[in-house]
């Protein structure tokens, strides 16, 4: 198991953002994390990533307990993430952005090596042409790729992808899914938060559904999509939905 989340809870004042989440993630998998807005998906990422310490429970990464580690230490240990709201280093060039990932990530490269890795990774995500541009001048789709490139350049063992497909058009989604698969094929374990259902169902080996901070369901994409609790969380009461659909207009 590359990542083990054991009964993790997190509350903000009166809001129980996460309650007793447990995840066992074997190496080399893509795990999809879905759920309605406000379900606690990004909070779970923030807890795994060390931005928040869990109130209860424990997290272990690559066999060692990492509860309470700050994000920079986890980055060195081989955990990388992208942000739902893109966070480019605006006044640095695209290449420099990616170099930060390579320099300070797991492998701790010098500048010359980092530049080489950055060019490789930018080529891989299709941003090579704009490497010398300032990151602030990219459009949203490109900034998403930049986020991904920075994370990949750190050569992580575990990659947390927070809605990398949101806001992309269908062609861009197809291209991005291709990239995510290739990253996995290089041996990186991935957890992805996603709202684009057909994409996440397609690419994930396993899905976890969160709703109001509770782990609602877990299983293969096929199992999860048939689970009445999941349908209810997304669409409301299925019987009610059916009744409403049958009601004469």
């Amino acid at each position: 198991m590359i990542l083990q989340v054991q009964g993790v809870s997190k509350r903000f004042g009166g809001l129980q953002a996460l309650s007793r989440i447990t995840i066992d993630l074997p190496e080399g998998q893509i795990l999809g994390l879905i759920g309605p807005n406000g379900a606690g998906k990004t909070t779970l990422f923030n807890v795994i990533n060390g931005i928040y310490a869990p109130d209860e429970g424990s997290i272990s990464f690559l066999g060692q307990s990492v509860s309470g580690w700050p994000p920079q230490r986890l980055a060195k240990a081989g955990m990388a993430r992208t942000h739902q709201i893109v966070q480019p280093l605006n006044e640095l060039s695209v290449r420099e952005n990616v170099m930060v990932g390579a320099c300070f990530g797991r492998e701790d490269h010098g500048l010359a090596d980092a530049a080489r890795i950055a060019d490789e990774v930018l080529d891989f995500v299709g941003l090579k042409a704009g490497a010398d541009q300032l990151a602030g001048s990219l459009n949203v789709a490109e900034k998403k790729r930049l986020e991904l490139a920075r994370a990949v350049a750190s050569r992580p063992h575990l990659l947390l992808l927070d809605e990398v497909l949101a806001g992309l058009n269908p062609a861009e989604i197809t291209a991005m899914i291709q990239i995510v698969r290739q990253i996995r094929d290089r041996g990186v374990t991935i957890i992805m938060i996603e709202h684009v259902m057909h994409a996440v169902m397609n690419v994930s080996e396993r899905i976890i559904v969160l709703d109001y901070g509770v782990q609602l369901a877990e299983g293969s994409p096929a199992e999860v999509s048939k689970d009445p609790k999941v349908i209810e969380a997304y669409l409301g009461d299925p019987k009610l939905a059916k009744k409403l659909a049958q009601r004469p207009v």
């Binding site: 980055a75 966070q87 280093l89 930060v100 320099c103 920075r150 750190s154």
Partner: protein, 322 residues
Amino acid sequence: MNAWNKPGFWLPLALVLAAGAWPLITGREATREVIFTALISVALASSLNILLGYTGYVSFGHIVFFGLGAYVGFYMMSALDLPLYLAAPAGGLSAGFLAFLLGKAILRLRGAYFALATIGVNEAARAFVNNFDPFGGPIGMRLNFRFYDAYGGAARALWTTFVALVVLTLILLAVSYLVKSSKFGLSLQAIRENEDAAQVMGVFAPSAKTWAFVISAIFPGIIGVLFFFKNGNIEPGDAFRLHLSIETIVMVMLGGQGTVLGPLLGGAGYQRLRGTLLVTPLFKDIQLTVAGVLLLVIILFVPGGVVGWLRSRFPVLRRVLE
């Protein structure tokens, strides 16, 4: 690293070298004084730039390091009769040490909160020195005139101080370039752009920030010793001038924050402007107001300063101006 091949490295050095050599060749004391004042500004601005420009932290307390370094060095010279070449590095190191301690305490704060804390530090340092008897309290300290005998008399000592300042400024600009173009510099710039994202990418922000603060504090500490060695006496009001901190920020912004050349141009340019204003009857009492207006105009219209503007306007210059 082949810094010598880069115009961005040697251009600032060449400028300082030329300015420093000029009075040495002509032997004119008036020119020397003008350039001395300009170089003090350049060095203060360049050192502040490491924190303000590279790391993105606005400090109103830069002059604390100038004042504290000066006091420590001056105490060593006047009370302990130690030579300048020991007192100056000691002033720099004590300023750096203060920055290290302060960094641990207040670099946790961000944005406006950090800036406010630095104002407090400035006032606290002045109050401390005012009431610290070994440093002469509110009266300060003075150097015995005979102290300059070891430097070939007071007149020669002025030239010695000038040469020391030129060398120090050269070192500082080289350090500034090397910091900026290093991996450490990349981490500082990542912190400036987005500290949280930088940490997620593995940058150890607390220690990087602290080291940037220490490097930026050592130089004003040394300059303070040189300045007051030349002056012959030191008082709290002269050593901790809050407005000089603000003027230093104006210089950095004017020349271009986050660039190596910018603080050089900004420091020299601002000092030139100030010199002109001080002898213009209309402005002589309100030259600080002009600094304030200048800062406002820069922030509103040319946030990149002179060098930033040139770089974005003429991309060709990006290879030359760092």
